[in-house]
Symmetry: C2
Subunit: 259 residues, 2 copies
DNA sequence: CGATACGTTGATCCATTTCAAGATTGGTGG
DNA sequence: CCACCAATCTTGAAATGGATCAACGTATCG
């Protein structure tokens, strides 16, 4: 997505301009984009980690991330596991509308701003706007596709590959919404949280972070990820972006031949 | 679900009687159940493994499993990874309707029978039957919830726990649709495929299967799983069925206190 | 009866956990 | 400005889980 295009979209739709950006946003007309924007009746700003929605809670609203990042967190026997990451533009608990209650917690990572949509309004939308309904459904299916990629990454890779995949995916997704730089991106996750997302101990994550740094694949330091060699990163993580269903050239079949 | 209730439902709706059985099926009226049943224009029977849909393929129909089981398979560098399992009643590539193309393969395991629904008919349904649309969406969200549970299982458990969780989940899901027995269930997966689903080598899966057998937790032999002690199985796999959103007593909060 | 797929076993090596201790960093109040 | 604190990051050594390689056993079926 071209930077000026993204800026224009954000000027017009300051709250939801990043929704499906880089994916199926082009499938929305201006009227539809306006409808989505008008769903947000209320926003909230956080200066640090904050729980958006809790497991078991029954919800009457859904949340979109406007600024900052969020994680899906599951707690088992006091240990914390991250099962998903979300960035600006992501409708993070849209599934709460149809599931009624959540199976996990949603928390912001560091400061951020979110918008709320009452489920009543979603109900109306679903009845009267089947095309938008389908796009919202699509958004939840993207989450499921990402889940599947996490599963296969956990099944096939050791810690280095898992971390590389996480970084590669995050870089790509931030790129969709205009928040990636040429040389890397900001990531509000410390080593503890990286280990929670990769299924390792923090001690081992520390050594893994060092591995990637020393092999010139990625430098993670104080909330900033710098990537000297994207090719090496993608190779180590077995990253092929087709599962993110991005616009443009990212189609199934474009991946590396041996993958 | 009571056995006679299930039999009655299957007598009335032989193709789709298991759809959402044990979960939100009660939310469908008889008219809606009839509509779903009438979606199936064609069925197909397989006497062994068969590819239902392939990665990258653009689909014009979706598939429901009537008999047998299916797996979501991702192939990376010639290695095979199972990222999901499905049983009778599951609408296995419903997401293909909104995603247009799939990010993974769908294959039946052993013999089975499936039904096909043209996407045209889904389109009409989505416009005219918002309540059913929401239930179909719910079905894809269940898949996502299962994905998340697989992620957290891979992150926290060693091979024994992963296998135990897989067995516990499958037993529970088969129970929803009336295909579980008191002492176990049939599972058309050999040790190779179990290892593909648990992210281990087949050699190690062999030792893991033996571990569970020798510790009196589960006996896996030629397509049949016998479970002497469900409590031990659930404990080893950290299994709490609330994420399956079953009817009845399975609510969030009912899990073991220390979980 | 031999092919073939699947299951089993042992030995060695590597990835990762575990436990224990220190070092660095970014605040905070005196 | 410094002392101190809490959180985070770092390192080392020993123990364990799992991969790897190589071989052999055992069903099943035409």
């Amino acid at each position: 997505m071209a930077p000026d295009q993204i800026a224009e979209e954000l000027a017009r739709y300051p709250l939801t301009g990043r929704f499906l950006m880089g994916r199926a946003r082009h499938a929305m007309g201006e009227r539809e984009k306006g409808l989505i924007e008008s769903l947000i009746e209320e926003t909230e700003t956080f200066d640090g980690p904050h729980t958006i929605a809790e497991r078991g809670q029954s919800l009457d609203r859904s949340t979109i991330i406007i600024e900052g990042m969020a994680a899906r967190v599951m707690t088992k026997k006091r240990a914390r596991y991250i099962v998903g990451l979300h960035m600006p533009g992501d409708f993070v608990d849209l599934h709460g509308y149809a599931l009624k209650r959540l199976d996990h917690n949603l928390v912001t990572l560091g400061p951020g701003r979110v918008g709320y949509v009452q489920h009543d309004r979603l109900r109306t939308l679903f009845r009267e706007e089947p095309h938008l309904a389908r796009l919202l459904w699509f958004a939840t299916l993207l989450d499921a596709a990402i889940h599947r990629e996490w599963i296969v990454t956990l099944e096939r890779h050791t810690a280095d590959g898992r971390l590389a995949h996480l970084l590669a995916e995050t870089w790509c997704r931030l790129g969709f919404v205009g928040l990636a730089d040429d040389d890397g991106f900001d990531l509000p996750l410390n080593q503890i949280e990286l280990s929670n997302a990769c299924g390792t101990t923090t001690v081992h994550m520390n050594r893994t972070v060092r591995n990637l740094r020393e092999s010139g694949i990625a430098v993670i330091r104080r909330g900033r990820v710098t990537i000297p060699d994207q090719g090496k990163l993608n190779a180590l993580g077995g990253f092929d972006p087709s599962y993110l269903y991005g616009d443009g050239a990212l189609r199934v079949g474009d991946e590396l031949a041996d993958d």
